[in-house]
Amino acid sequence: MTVVRFPAEQLRTRQDSWQMPELQQFIAVSACSIADGKASGWEIGTTEQGDPQVYLIGPAPAYECILCISRMGRRYVIEDGRGQVILEHDSPAMLAEQAIAALRRRKMLVVTQIALAWHALREAFEEKTEAMAEESLEILAHIAPQLAVLV
């Protein structure tokens, strides 16, 4: 298998760290998981290559990462705490489509995580890009009933 590398010019197209609006959205979204005890908090970090990561931390006593979102160049990669890639895409809107595909496969555990992560990304992007927000909201309207049935 070939590990995906990102060329320097691609890395330069975006900020190398999380932007405040993105983090504010992660905080807002993770607050729901924290309130119901599924998570205890979140932390940020970077890879050796400087890609920003945000970790959703599980409850006590282990406080292990239950979800990790990385931004590599233009690509978002969402993994669980075992390194399994849940979603990956350049576009939050396309992430939503992958979430729908996962829903169809009925991966219940993953679905909740996907919903959380995708929502965080969508919210973060809405801060910046109105056009994308419209697209995201359209997809949200499509995905919400399916989530409501399963979660």
């Binding site: 298998m1 590398r5 607050a31 970090g45 931390i57 406080y63 990790c68 705490g81």
Partner: protein, 97 residues
């Protein structure tokens, strides 16, 4: 506030494990990308997750990590157990590393 500021023991030990793993990788002359490649991972982000102390090396890939890092799988697992499951390590090995 959601930011996890406390440093409970489990978290501290996992960070120590991450530091140890990073040292091992450095000694093996591997980048995170190299190690991910050796482990058959698509991205190197999980290596970072583990080395930063937020995730664990999964049990089913302990041997793969050990071999990729050029260390004995049994010793590797024993050492990691002292960080990840210190009580189990104490019961099994009497606190010896």
């Amino acid at each position: 506030m959601p930011i996890a500021t406390a440093e409970p023991e489990a978290k501290q030990l996992r960070k120590q494990a991450g530091t140890w793993l990073k040292e091992l990788r450095g000694r093996a002359g591997l980048s995170q990308v190299d190690l991910a490649q050796a482990l058959g991972l698509k991205y190197y982000t999980f290596i970072s997750q583990v080395e930063n102390g937020f995730g664990r090396v999964p049990t089913d890939s302990l041997e793969g990590w050990a071999r990729a890092l050029g260390v004995d799988p049994r010793e590797f697992t024993r050492e990691l157990l002292s960080y990840y499951e210190p009580e189990l390590h104490r019961l099994l090995f009497g606190g010896k590393k």
